[in-house]
């Protein structure tokens, strides 16, 4: 990997600008990815928060879904937040009919698992690999990870409505996903972990 890799942000919908803003603080090049040509130019990809049904539909319409599957399958590092976590899930619960994902992480994700917006919340979540201090995590109509395969490392959990510890941060090789939105907090530690993964340092 080059010393200063280019990290793209999938720009089909959602809080793209916020991710770009965080990445720009981390000594990487950044790019918006709207189509297959731009995907070819990036070393790694962030899939932002937003509405996963919209993102999925537009990825199919613009011929991006297969190229995305191919790149992720070939080992391109990727990090998904919220809707982005859904996009990286091999299996999805609570999606709409025919909702496609890119896949890549051997996990089952439940969409809108934490409930509607009035149940959206902030919580301090300890996350493995970013230091002792818990992360101030913002969950917006967030998914959780229902189950993971043997290759997946669980990085963080939060108590769900039934107080059961729900998986909200995972890593499998170069792929990472969180149910929450570090791009909304000004805390760059999770993006830095991803950049370290991209550079082969973590």
């Amino acid at each position: 990997m080059t010393a200063r890799p280019t990290i793209g942000v999938l720009a089909l919908q959602g809080d793209v600008a916020e991710h770009l803003h965080v990445l720009e603080q981390l000594d990487v090049r950044t790019a918006k990815v709207l189509g297959p040509d731009q995907l070819d130019t990036v070393d790694a990809l962030v899939i932002p928060g937003g509405e996963s049904t919209t993102m999925s539909k537009l990825a199919v319409r613009y011929g991006l879904l297969e190229p995305l599957r191919k790149r992720v399958g070939a080992g391109m590092p990727a990090y998904g937040t919220c809707a982005g976590m859904i996009m990286l899930a091999d299996r999805l619960l609570g999606g709409i009919d025919g909702q496609e994902t890119i896949g890549g992480i051997d996990m089952t994700v439940r969409r809108n698992a934490f409930g509607r917006q009035t149940e959206s919340f902030e919580a301090a979540v300890p996350v493995a690999g970013i230091g002792e201090e818990p992360f101030d995590a913002v969950f917006i109509r967030a998914p959780w990870v229902e189950s993971v395969g043997p290759e997946v490392t669980v990085l963080g959990r939060v108590p769900g409505p039934d107080s059961a510890g729900r998986i909200v941060a995972v890593r499998q090789g170069g792929l990472m996903a969180t149910s929450f939105h570090p791009e909304l907090t000004g805390d760059v530690r999770i993006h830095r972990l991803f950049v370290d993964i991209v550079k082969g340092h973590a």
Binding site: E51, I96, I140
Partner: protein, 303 residues
């Protein structure tokens, strides 16, 4: 700021970050007015990021006259049941009880809207008192900042709803953006004067001057009827677009909805806008603003 701790955990709901964060997730998208569960499904399938549930679209409110109020809870429940994307609904300006009802029903976002008949001629809703986030309309920067001071998590241009005519939305977007740019040129002393002129809290005025944008997302609404209209709003600085009557008052709503979603995404690509604009069928019939009496204009409601 409302930070009600939930019963079972230390999770904080309804914080400023959670409300504004929700608005951020709706960026680069289209929010569509729907009046039935069937329309809501069409909107979801077309790639809407959210739907606005209401009994009558603005064009019909305009035609029918009388007092326009919050929708029947049965109707809102029907749409909440029908789709899995976020659902918004409208309350009258100042009608905080309608807002309490919508929050109770579990809608994801409340629009304190000039399209409905105002319920209070002096005060907007204290939006900090709610867990659910609010969007409010604005015609200029001062109005936008007053709404943010009251707790709005998103601002939209008012435009002139139900006309199929973008001229007012254009005016409001240009006005808000130009005033933001002007703030960036002022020195410290002048910012105090600007806060007075804008009739907005100094802290928010200062924040806007520093950021070069509003502290919450800025969307556009009021008169968008075509893919090119949606792209125009994006190029004028709107981060997303509300489409009210424009979709389901047109000849082929499913195709138009899809076309407006695509034009909103590829708003800088005339090739895409041209392609999706072909053979869309009848657009909604528009109203020339010169033919609209002042009493029939919604944008003047609110202050």
């Amino acid at each position: 700021m409302a930070t009600n701790a939930s019963n079972t955990t230390d999770n904080a709901v309804g914080t400023q970050r959670v409300k504004r964060g929700m608005a951020e997730q709706l960026k680069n998208g289209v929010i569509m007015d729907v009046v039935t569960p069937e329309q809501a499904k069409i909107a979801e399938d077309a790639g809407a990021v959210a739907v606005m549930a209401l009994e009558r679209v603005p064009a019909d409110i305009r035609k029918d006259g009388g007092v326009a109020r919050m929708s029947d809870p049965d109707m809102i429940d029907g749409i909440v049941e029908a789709v899995s994307i976020p659902v918004m609904a409208k309350v009258r300006i100042g009608h905080f009880v309608e807002a309490q009802v919508l929050e109770h029903l579990g809608v994801d976002f409340i629009d304190e809207s000039e399209v409905l008949t105002p319920a209070d001629e002096a005060y907007h809703i204290d939006k900090w008192a709610f867990t659910v986030p609010f969007v409010c309309g604005a015609t200029n920067l001062g109005e936008a900042l007053r709404r943010i001071a009251e707790g709005a998590a998103m601002i939209r241009s008012k435009g002139e709803a139900g006309t199929g005519n973008v001229i007012e939305a254009t005016r409001h977007m240009r006005s808000i953006r130009a005033e933001i740019r002007r703030l960036g040129t002022l020195d410290e002393a002048e910012l105090f004067g600007a806060a007075k002129e804008l009739r907005a809290p100094y802290e928010i005025v200062k924040e806007v001057a520093t950021l070069g944008k509003l502290p919450v997302p800025l969307f556009s609404a009021g008169g968008v009827a075509t893919p090119a209209d949606a792209a125009l709003m994006r190029q004028l600085g709107a981060e997303s677009v509300f489409v009210g009557s424009g979709i389901f008052k047109s000849g082929d709503p499913a195709r138009r909805a899809d076309a407006i979603v695509q034009a909103t995404l590829h708003y800088e690509d005339p090739g895409v806008i041209a392609r999706v604009s072909r053979g869309l069928g009848e657009a909604m019939v528009g109203i020339n603003l010169d033919d609209l009496a002042d009493s029939e204009r919604y944008a003047g409601r609110g202050w």
